[in-house]
């Protein structure tokens, strides 16, 4: 009976994925493109060569880092929509630290570490702003985050076109690239850095341990599930919600730092690349379980990388990956709802 149920659960998950694929195929047919060809291109674009596989991991790193932070805020019952801005602020602060120290003659390791720390600080400051607005200003964290996202974007653009503009002419391509000596070292021939990969894996382990094996994690959970009861247990909800913001900001800032140090090597206008919002989707899809976020984030990253092929090969916009990702989340949640409903009925029947 139990084994049977596990199989049924698996079937539902698969059918959710199939439904998402069907839906995407339908969109392609409407756009007068061959779905098979498109899916094939995405797949080949993500895994056909070692370089492409490595590129998928390059995209996985910021996505899983952002998801790490979001799992914490979701656990605490917070909707941290402001994650995009927090990533941008992390990138800005990293860029600032690097600009400040690049000609100081300090060893590159120190400069890189300072960049990472500055990035984390940037993310934390921006997240704390959302938290302070919530607790002292009574502004919902959703609206606070949304507003702070716009400000972060404006700030990025102002820096790129103003104080940090390239020698000669400012451009959308971003600030002057940094010297190679202060890049996160990559595997020769690839864009992937072992260091950023290690940071991502460590972050996953830390978040898993925090939420599963520490009292602080349990308290965050209690605040998220019933803050009134938490008060009775001597847990201050505002303190722990601020802590959740700080932790999420830390991972978001790290995301920004890695994008500057390991991928773009400068500040660009869309430095967060939507990984924050994509992280929200991943976190929801895995029901805030960080372990499951690892493979799902990898799938989403692969879809992002695979989608790059589409405009070149088929003249379809690469946002098709986005359609697939959203369809996956929506259909998966839909099927999960159907499954739970059927399970309940089945239980009622078997009880007789």
């Amino acid at each position: 009976m139990r084994k049977n149920r596990g199989f049924i659960n698996f079937l539902f998950r698969i059918s959710g994925i199939l439904a998402a694929l069907l839906f995407t195929a339908l969109v392609l047919v409407i756009a007068k493109a061959n779905p098979w060809e498109a899916f094939g291109n995405i797949l080949m674009g993500a895994v056909s060569t070692p370089i492409k596989i490595a590129d998928s991991f390059v995209a996985w790193v910021p996505l899983i880092l952002a998801t790490c932070g979001l799992v914490i805020t979701f656990t605490t019952g917070l909707w941290n929509i402001g994650i995009e801005g927090q990533i941008s602020l992390g990138a800005i602060m990293t860029t600032w630290a690097l600009r400040l120290l690049q000609d100081s003659g300090l060893p590159p390791v120190v400069i890189i570490l300072a960049g990472i720390l500055a990035g984390m600080a940037g993310g934390i400051i921006w997240a704390l702003l959302a938290g302070v607005l919530k607790f002292y200003g009574g502004v919902s964290e959703i609206f606070a985050g949304l507003g702070l996202n716009f400000i972060a974007t404006a700030l990025t653009l102002w820096l790129i076109f103003g104080p940090w503009k390239r020698a000669g002419v400012a451009s959308m391509s971003g600030t002057e690239p940094f010297d190679m000596s202060i890049w996160l070292p990559t595997i020769p021939g690839y864009r992937l850095s072992v260091w950023s990969l290690a940071l991502a894996v460590a972050s996953v382990l830390i978040v898993y341990f925090l939420l599963q094996h520490t009292v602080i994690g349990l308290r965050l959970k209690a605040v998220g599930k019933n803050y009134k009861a938490a008060i009775q247990m001597g847990i201050s909800p505002s303190k722990y919600m601020l802590l959740a913001f700080v932790l999420c900001g830390l991972f978001a800032g790290l995301t920004g730092a890695v994008q500057v140090l390991g991928v773009y090597h400068r500040l660009i206008p869309s430095i967060s690349s939507g990984y924050g919002f994509l992280g929200l989707l991943v976190a929801m899809l895995v029901d805030y379980q960080i372990v499951w976020a690892v493979p799902v984030a990898l799938l989403f990253a692969a879809l992002n990388i695979g989608g790059i092929q589409l405009p070149i090969m088929m003249k379809i916009d690469s946002t098709l990956s986005g359609v697939m990702q959203s369809a996956l989340v929506l259909f998966f949640m839909l099927m999960d709802g159907v499954r739970k409903k059927m399970l309940k009925k089945e239980e009622d029947l078997s009880d007789e």
């Binding site: 009292v215 349990l218 599930k225 019933n226 938490a230 008060i231 009775q232 247990m233 007789e352």
Partner: protein, 490 residues
């Protein structure tokens, strides 16, 4: 309305909540449905009101078999239930709340909302709800009033009341009972679910008793109380008054305390609480007891005065400072304010562990959990989620979470909705704590409970608080009059 239930069965997992229940109810009758906690009373009534579906059996209404798949179905047929937990919309005004229900019901007249009819019902029942006030601001008692008025307003013919007197005052209860008798006289059918024998005795013309899901007996009025108790519990239960452990050491001294709320103002409270003493708070629901308890726990800031505890004045400190000193508040809404739904018993014990720790010691927490479950006689396992427990077990869990030893426990209606056996059990645990010099202040709507378990009683009447009255030799009638606002010194 003529109701006939035939061979009703309902299972929850392995629990047989209703086992072959058959019952006929005539129009104009007030039927008492008795049984201890978990006997299956609420389940049976939820089936009849369409909230949950029966697994087996038939429901005949005026001789016709009906399928009740939702509360809306039931309402359409004229069946309305007054639940223990109010079903309303806390974020709306009363008028909006009523309009929603008016639209949901198919029985409504097509013309504009008939507010006059509602005001008539209010007047009839002696309620005084401000239609433009917010539902969320009402007390539990007032929300029950709103529900009752609403059901009658929607034209309900069969009225099911699930423990309606919990949380309302003696006076309100009197008004309610006379209204119910009036309604029965008009031919409405009423089912009165309760575990309070006196209420059933006063109100009902017939009583049926459920025990462990089975209908095990019925009696016509006049009832023999001992006989009903035997039916309910399978044996007789009497309360025994134990010796009080109160000392003359002052635990907390309250001086010139003023508490202001948007609804109520409590002025100039003065009293000393002794170590090991039990003080009971009597009064109508919403007379300021909750605000008072919360103020003494630091959950609500008083506007002025002194709360002296040891050598300190705790006025103006937050609730965590109070908790550090061993002063704990236990709210009446267990699932909403006391426990965390979606968390297991074990997780609750880890959270309430006062030892400062970073990592979860699962071996230790396992042991603690097993110990507490046993000691507090909780029907559940360490991996059971708090919301899966029954009301009585949730209350036990809540009490088992309290730090031991504690200095002062502030309990808001600690035995609300519990049967006599659970109540006795909870008080035996609380009494043990008093022996260890823990003081207790509790509120209750049950006069028996107050005079029985409290050493002294404070009576609340719309924000006024009486001098502490010694409960030994206290005239219950006088207490009742004071709760109703009489016999107060000018």
């Amino acid at each position: 309305m003529h109701i006939q239930l035939k061979n009703i069965h309902k299972y929850f997992g392995s629990v047989h909540a209703n086992n072959d229940v058959s019952l006929t109810i005539e129009p104009g009758q007030i039927l008492g449905l008795l049984g201890e906690n978990g006997a299956g009373k609420s389940t049976l009534m939820k089936i009849l009101s369409g909230l949950i579906c029966k697994d087996n059996g038939e429901i005949l209404i005026n001789g016709e078999e009906q399928n009740l798949n939702s509360p809306a179905d039931a309402l359409r047929l004229g069946i309305g239930m007054l639940h223990q937990d109010p079903h309303d919309f806390p974020s709306m005004t009363i008028r909006e709340d009523l309009q929603i229900w008016n639209q949901r019901s198919d029985r409504t007249r097509t013309d504009a909302t008939d507010w006059q009819a509602l005001m008539n019902i209010q007047e009839d029942l002696g309620f005084n709800l401000d239609l433009d006030g917010s539902v969320g601001d009402l007390t539990v008692g007032e929300r029950q009033q709103l529900e009752l008025a609403r059901l009658l307003w929607l034209g309900v013919e069969l009225l099911i009341l699930d423990e309606p007197t919990t949380g309302i005052s003696a006076l309100q209860q009197e008004v309610l009972f006379s209204a119910l008798k009036k309604l029965a006289g008009q031919g409405k059918t009423i089912i009165f679910v309760s575990h309070k024998l006196e209420e059933v005795k006063e109100l009902c013309s017939r009583a049926v008793v459920l025990r462990k899901g089975c209908l095990i007996g019925e009696r016509e009025a006049p009832f023999d109380e001992n006989d009903l108790v035997k039916l309910m519990f399978g044996r007789q239960i009497t309360r025994t008054r134990t010796a009080h452990a109160r000392t003359r050491d002052v635990c907390m001294s309250v001086q010139n305390l003023n508490i202001e709320d948007f609804r109520i103002a409590i002025e100039n409270v003065n009293f000393d609480l002794y170590a090991g003493e039990v003080i009971g708070l009597a009064g109508m629901e919403g007379s300021g007891q909750r605000q008072f308890l919360q103020a003494l726990a630091g959950m609500k800031q008083p506007s002025s005065g002194h709360i002296r505890f040891g050598d300190e004045d705790l006025f103006g400190r937050n609730c965590y400072e109070y908790q550090k000193r061993g002063i704990f508040y236990v709210p009446t809404a267990r699932m909403e304010e006391g426990l965390v739904p979606g968390m297991t018993l074990e997780e609750h014990y880890i959270l309430s562990d006062c030892e400062k720790k970073i990592f979860i010691d699962s071996r230790k927490s396992h042991k603690t959990t097993e110990e507490r479950i046993q000691r507090f006689n909780i029907k559940g396992r360490s991996a059971t989620y708090s919301e899966e427990l029954s009301g009585g077990n949730q209350q036990r869990l809540l009490l088992s979470l309290l730090q031991d030893p504690a200095q002062l426990l502030l309990l808001e209606n600690p035995t609300r909705g519990l049967d006599i056996e659970s109540t006795n059990w909870i008080w035996s645990i609380l009494r043990e704590r008093c022996q260890a010099a823990t003081s207790i202040i509790f509120s209750s709507a049950d006069l028996d409970e107050l005079t029985f378990y409290a050493d002294r009683i404070l009576v609340f009447f719309s924000g006024r608080i009486s001098e502490p009255l010694d409960s030994a030799g206290l005239d219950e009638e006088r207490l009742g009059r004071m709760i109703g606002g009489k016999d107060w010194p000018k």
